[in-house]
Symmetry: C2
Subunit: 328 residues, 2 copies
């Protein structure tokens, strides 16, 4: 499936490959991991979202080749959001290479993200050729609603940076928008394109949504207790960036030593490993790990409710387990 | 028509008016000129693009009420591009008020532009209710292609800033993308929604495209010889910002005194009025004015080719003349 995904993605990005615009195409191809220094599989990312679309389509008895435009579209949306996120966070590295804004400046990077956004939607319209216009219309509408959810999640994430009175409950609307909405749309798109009925589609949507939440919670665990985070050498630890992740919000709710230290101002690199231990002792690790496990369980239950075709179901379960059990 | 346009726009922007997101809605409502200090007609702009959609729809024998979702969508796209342009140009004022990035910071402004982009497309999908799904699909596709053209024009515009070997011919692909593509889409959308055949639609498209080019050329004239530009007190003059507008590219092609001075480095405020005179003497004013007049003529010829219904045709001619004869 992966080579077909790359072909479809390249076909989309080639829409900006016109006379006098070589450099524009280069920015997008660089971000997608095809060109420039460090190009290759690592720079491309794992293409998890398009794989979810295609595997879901197969599991719902579709021919996944017909879902390729949707698979490419969700990956382009993901990459649009990464290009803009990197500017917003001031991150200068992405998958081990300089980010687009670092290489070409903020102004061109904003524009590259906008292009990626437009390319995503132009690509999903191609479903009219592989399925029919009605399905393409529904799919395009669903993807666009998801984009609006993404911006809502992003708004909350940025707003939280300056808010001190947050509670655990504030976490869910933020990650629903930032992460779960797109994964829910990936799995529902697969089912829609396969021609599944509304009930089955909603199970697939639930599967993607719960998986997306579990994935994000796992990401939050790695952001504090992952190998890269614990070294404290870089900005890899969410304790250094001040991110309001689930373990941090749990820690703050306990009003113990962690909460006290957090209120005193920015955490320093040499405190990271000790503070992660305090947070663990106050129960944040167990709480977050249990939450992730429960969400994963819920995701797998929804998947089972869809009564998927086994070979694709096995691949989906494997992908889900990979996402929520990864170590880095 | 204007109150209906505002209603449709508010309805679109209200999609982000949800619990806990009041501030997000406020940013968008502020940019649209509805809220905050200085809100009102001036802060809203002239809503030229939605008016073009509705008047064209009427001229092509449609009921313009059915075209309202398209009218709102093109205005939202225009405003998406303004929010991002202001960040890219570092402009801190827009229609006499602080820009979104100036008021809320770059990160939130990028996200607000992205939201405006998504809202535009969600809004054009509403044509499925006022016309039919096939028309809505065609309209959404046309608008999305236009967005990609916008980013191409923007890429060229930003690239030109650092290029010294530009020729007059380089001007047209840039303004085709930045200005003419959206105006061409406005007029074609009106005709499409009215149910006009392909031949008539292409005349309307030509009308909008030529009008867009004439509008931009006129803007370039004002950027150098307009009242605000000649005072040289602010960054109102394109000679100060170094913008590669049509008169500047013409001046450079003449390889005379203007070109010589330009090559020596940034123009200072006290030189602006004298240099504008030099440029005029070298023929740039006449050349640009003639180009604008010719494009306007071409636009009006295309409009006449559509055999429009007279009351709407009169309004379109009036709007066109207003756009290409304005003084500020």
């Amino acid at each position: 499936m992966l080579p077909c995904i790359e072909d479809e993605l390249q076909r989309a990005v080639d829409l900006v490959k016109v006379h006098g615009m070589q450099e524009y195409h280069r920015m997008l191809a660089y971000h997608m991991g095809w060109e420039g220094e460090g190009a290759g599989p690592t720079a491309r990312g794992k293409r998890i979202r398009p794989l979810l679309v295609l595997l879901t389509d197969g599991a719902a008895q579709g021919d996944w080749n017909n879902a390729l435009p949707a698979a490419a579209a969700v990956e382009l949306i993901h990459n649009f959001s990464l290009i803009h996120d990197d500017i917003q966070d001031g991150s200068d590295q992405r998958r081990g290479r300089p980010t687009v804004w670092k290489a070409w400046g903020t102004a061109q990077a904003i524009n590259s993200g906008d292009a990626m956004f437009a390319l995503a939607h132009l690509t999903i319209f191609r479903l009219a050729g592989t399925t029919n216009e009605h399905t393409a219309f529904q799919a395009a509408h669903m993807l666009q609603e998801t984009c609006l959810e993404l911006t809502k999640g992003q708004f909350l994430d940025m707003s939280y940076e300056t808010q001190s009175q947050l509670m655990i409950e504030d976490y869910w609307p933020m990650v629903s928008g930032k992460t779960a909405a797109l994964l829910a749309t990936c799995t529902e798109l697969g089912a829609l394109i396969a021609g599944a009925d509304e009930r089955i589609r909603s199970y697939y949507r639930q599967f993607g949504r719960s998986l997306g939440l579990a994935f994000q919670v796992q990401d939050d665990i790695l952001g504090i207790w992952g190998d890269a985070a614990l070294t404290g050498k870089s900005a890899e630890s969410d304790l250094l960036t001040g991110k309001k992740s689930l373990p941090v919000l749990f820690g703050l709710s306990q009003k113990g030593r962690f909460s006290q230290r957090w209120a005193e101002g920015p955490i320093q690199p040499d405190e990271v490993s000790q503070l992660a231990k305090v947070l663990e002792e106050e129960g944040a690790y167990n709480y977050t790990q249990n939450t992730s496990a429960e969400l994963t369980q819920r995701a797998l239950q929804s998947l089972s409710d869809t009564q998927p075709i086994s070979e694709y179901a096995d691949a989906l379960i494997e992908l889900a387990n990979h996402l929520v059990n990864r170590r880095g």
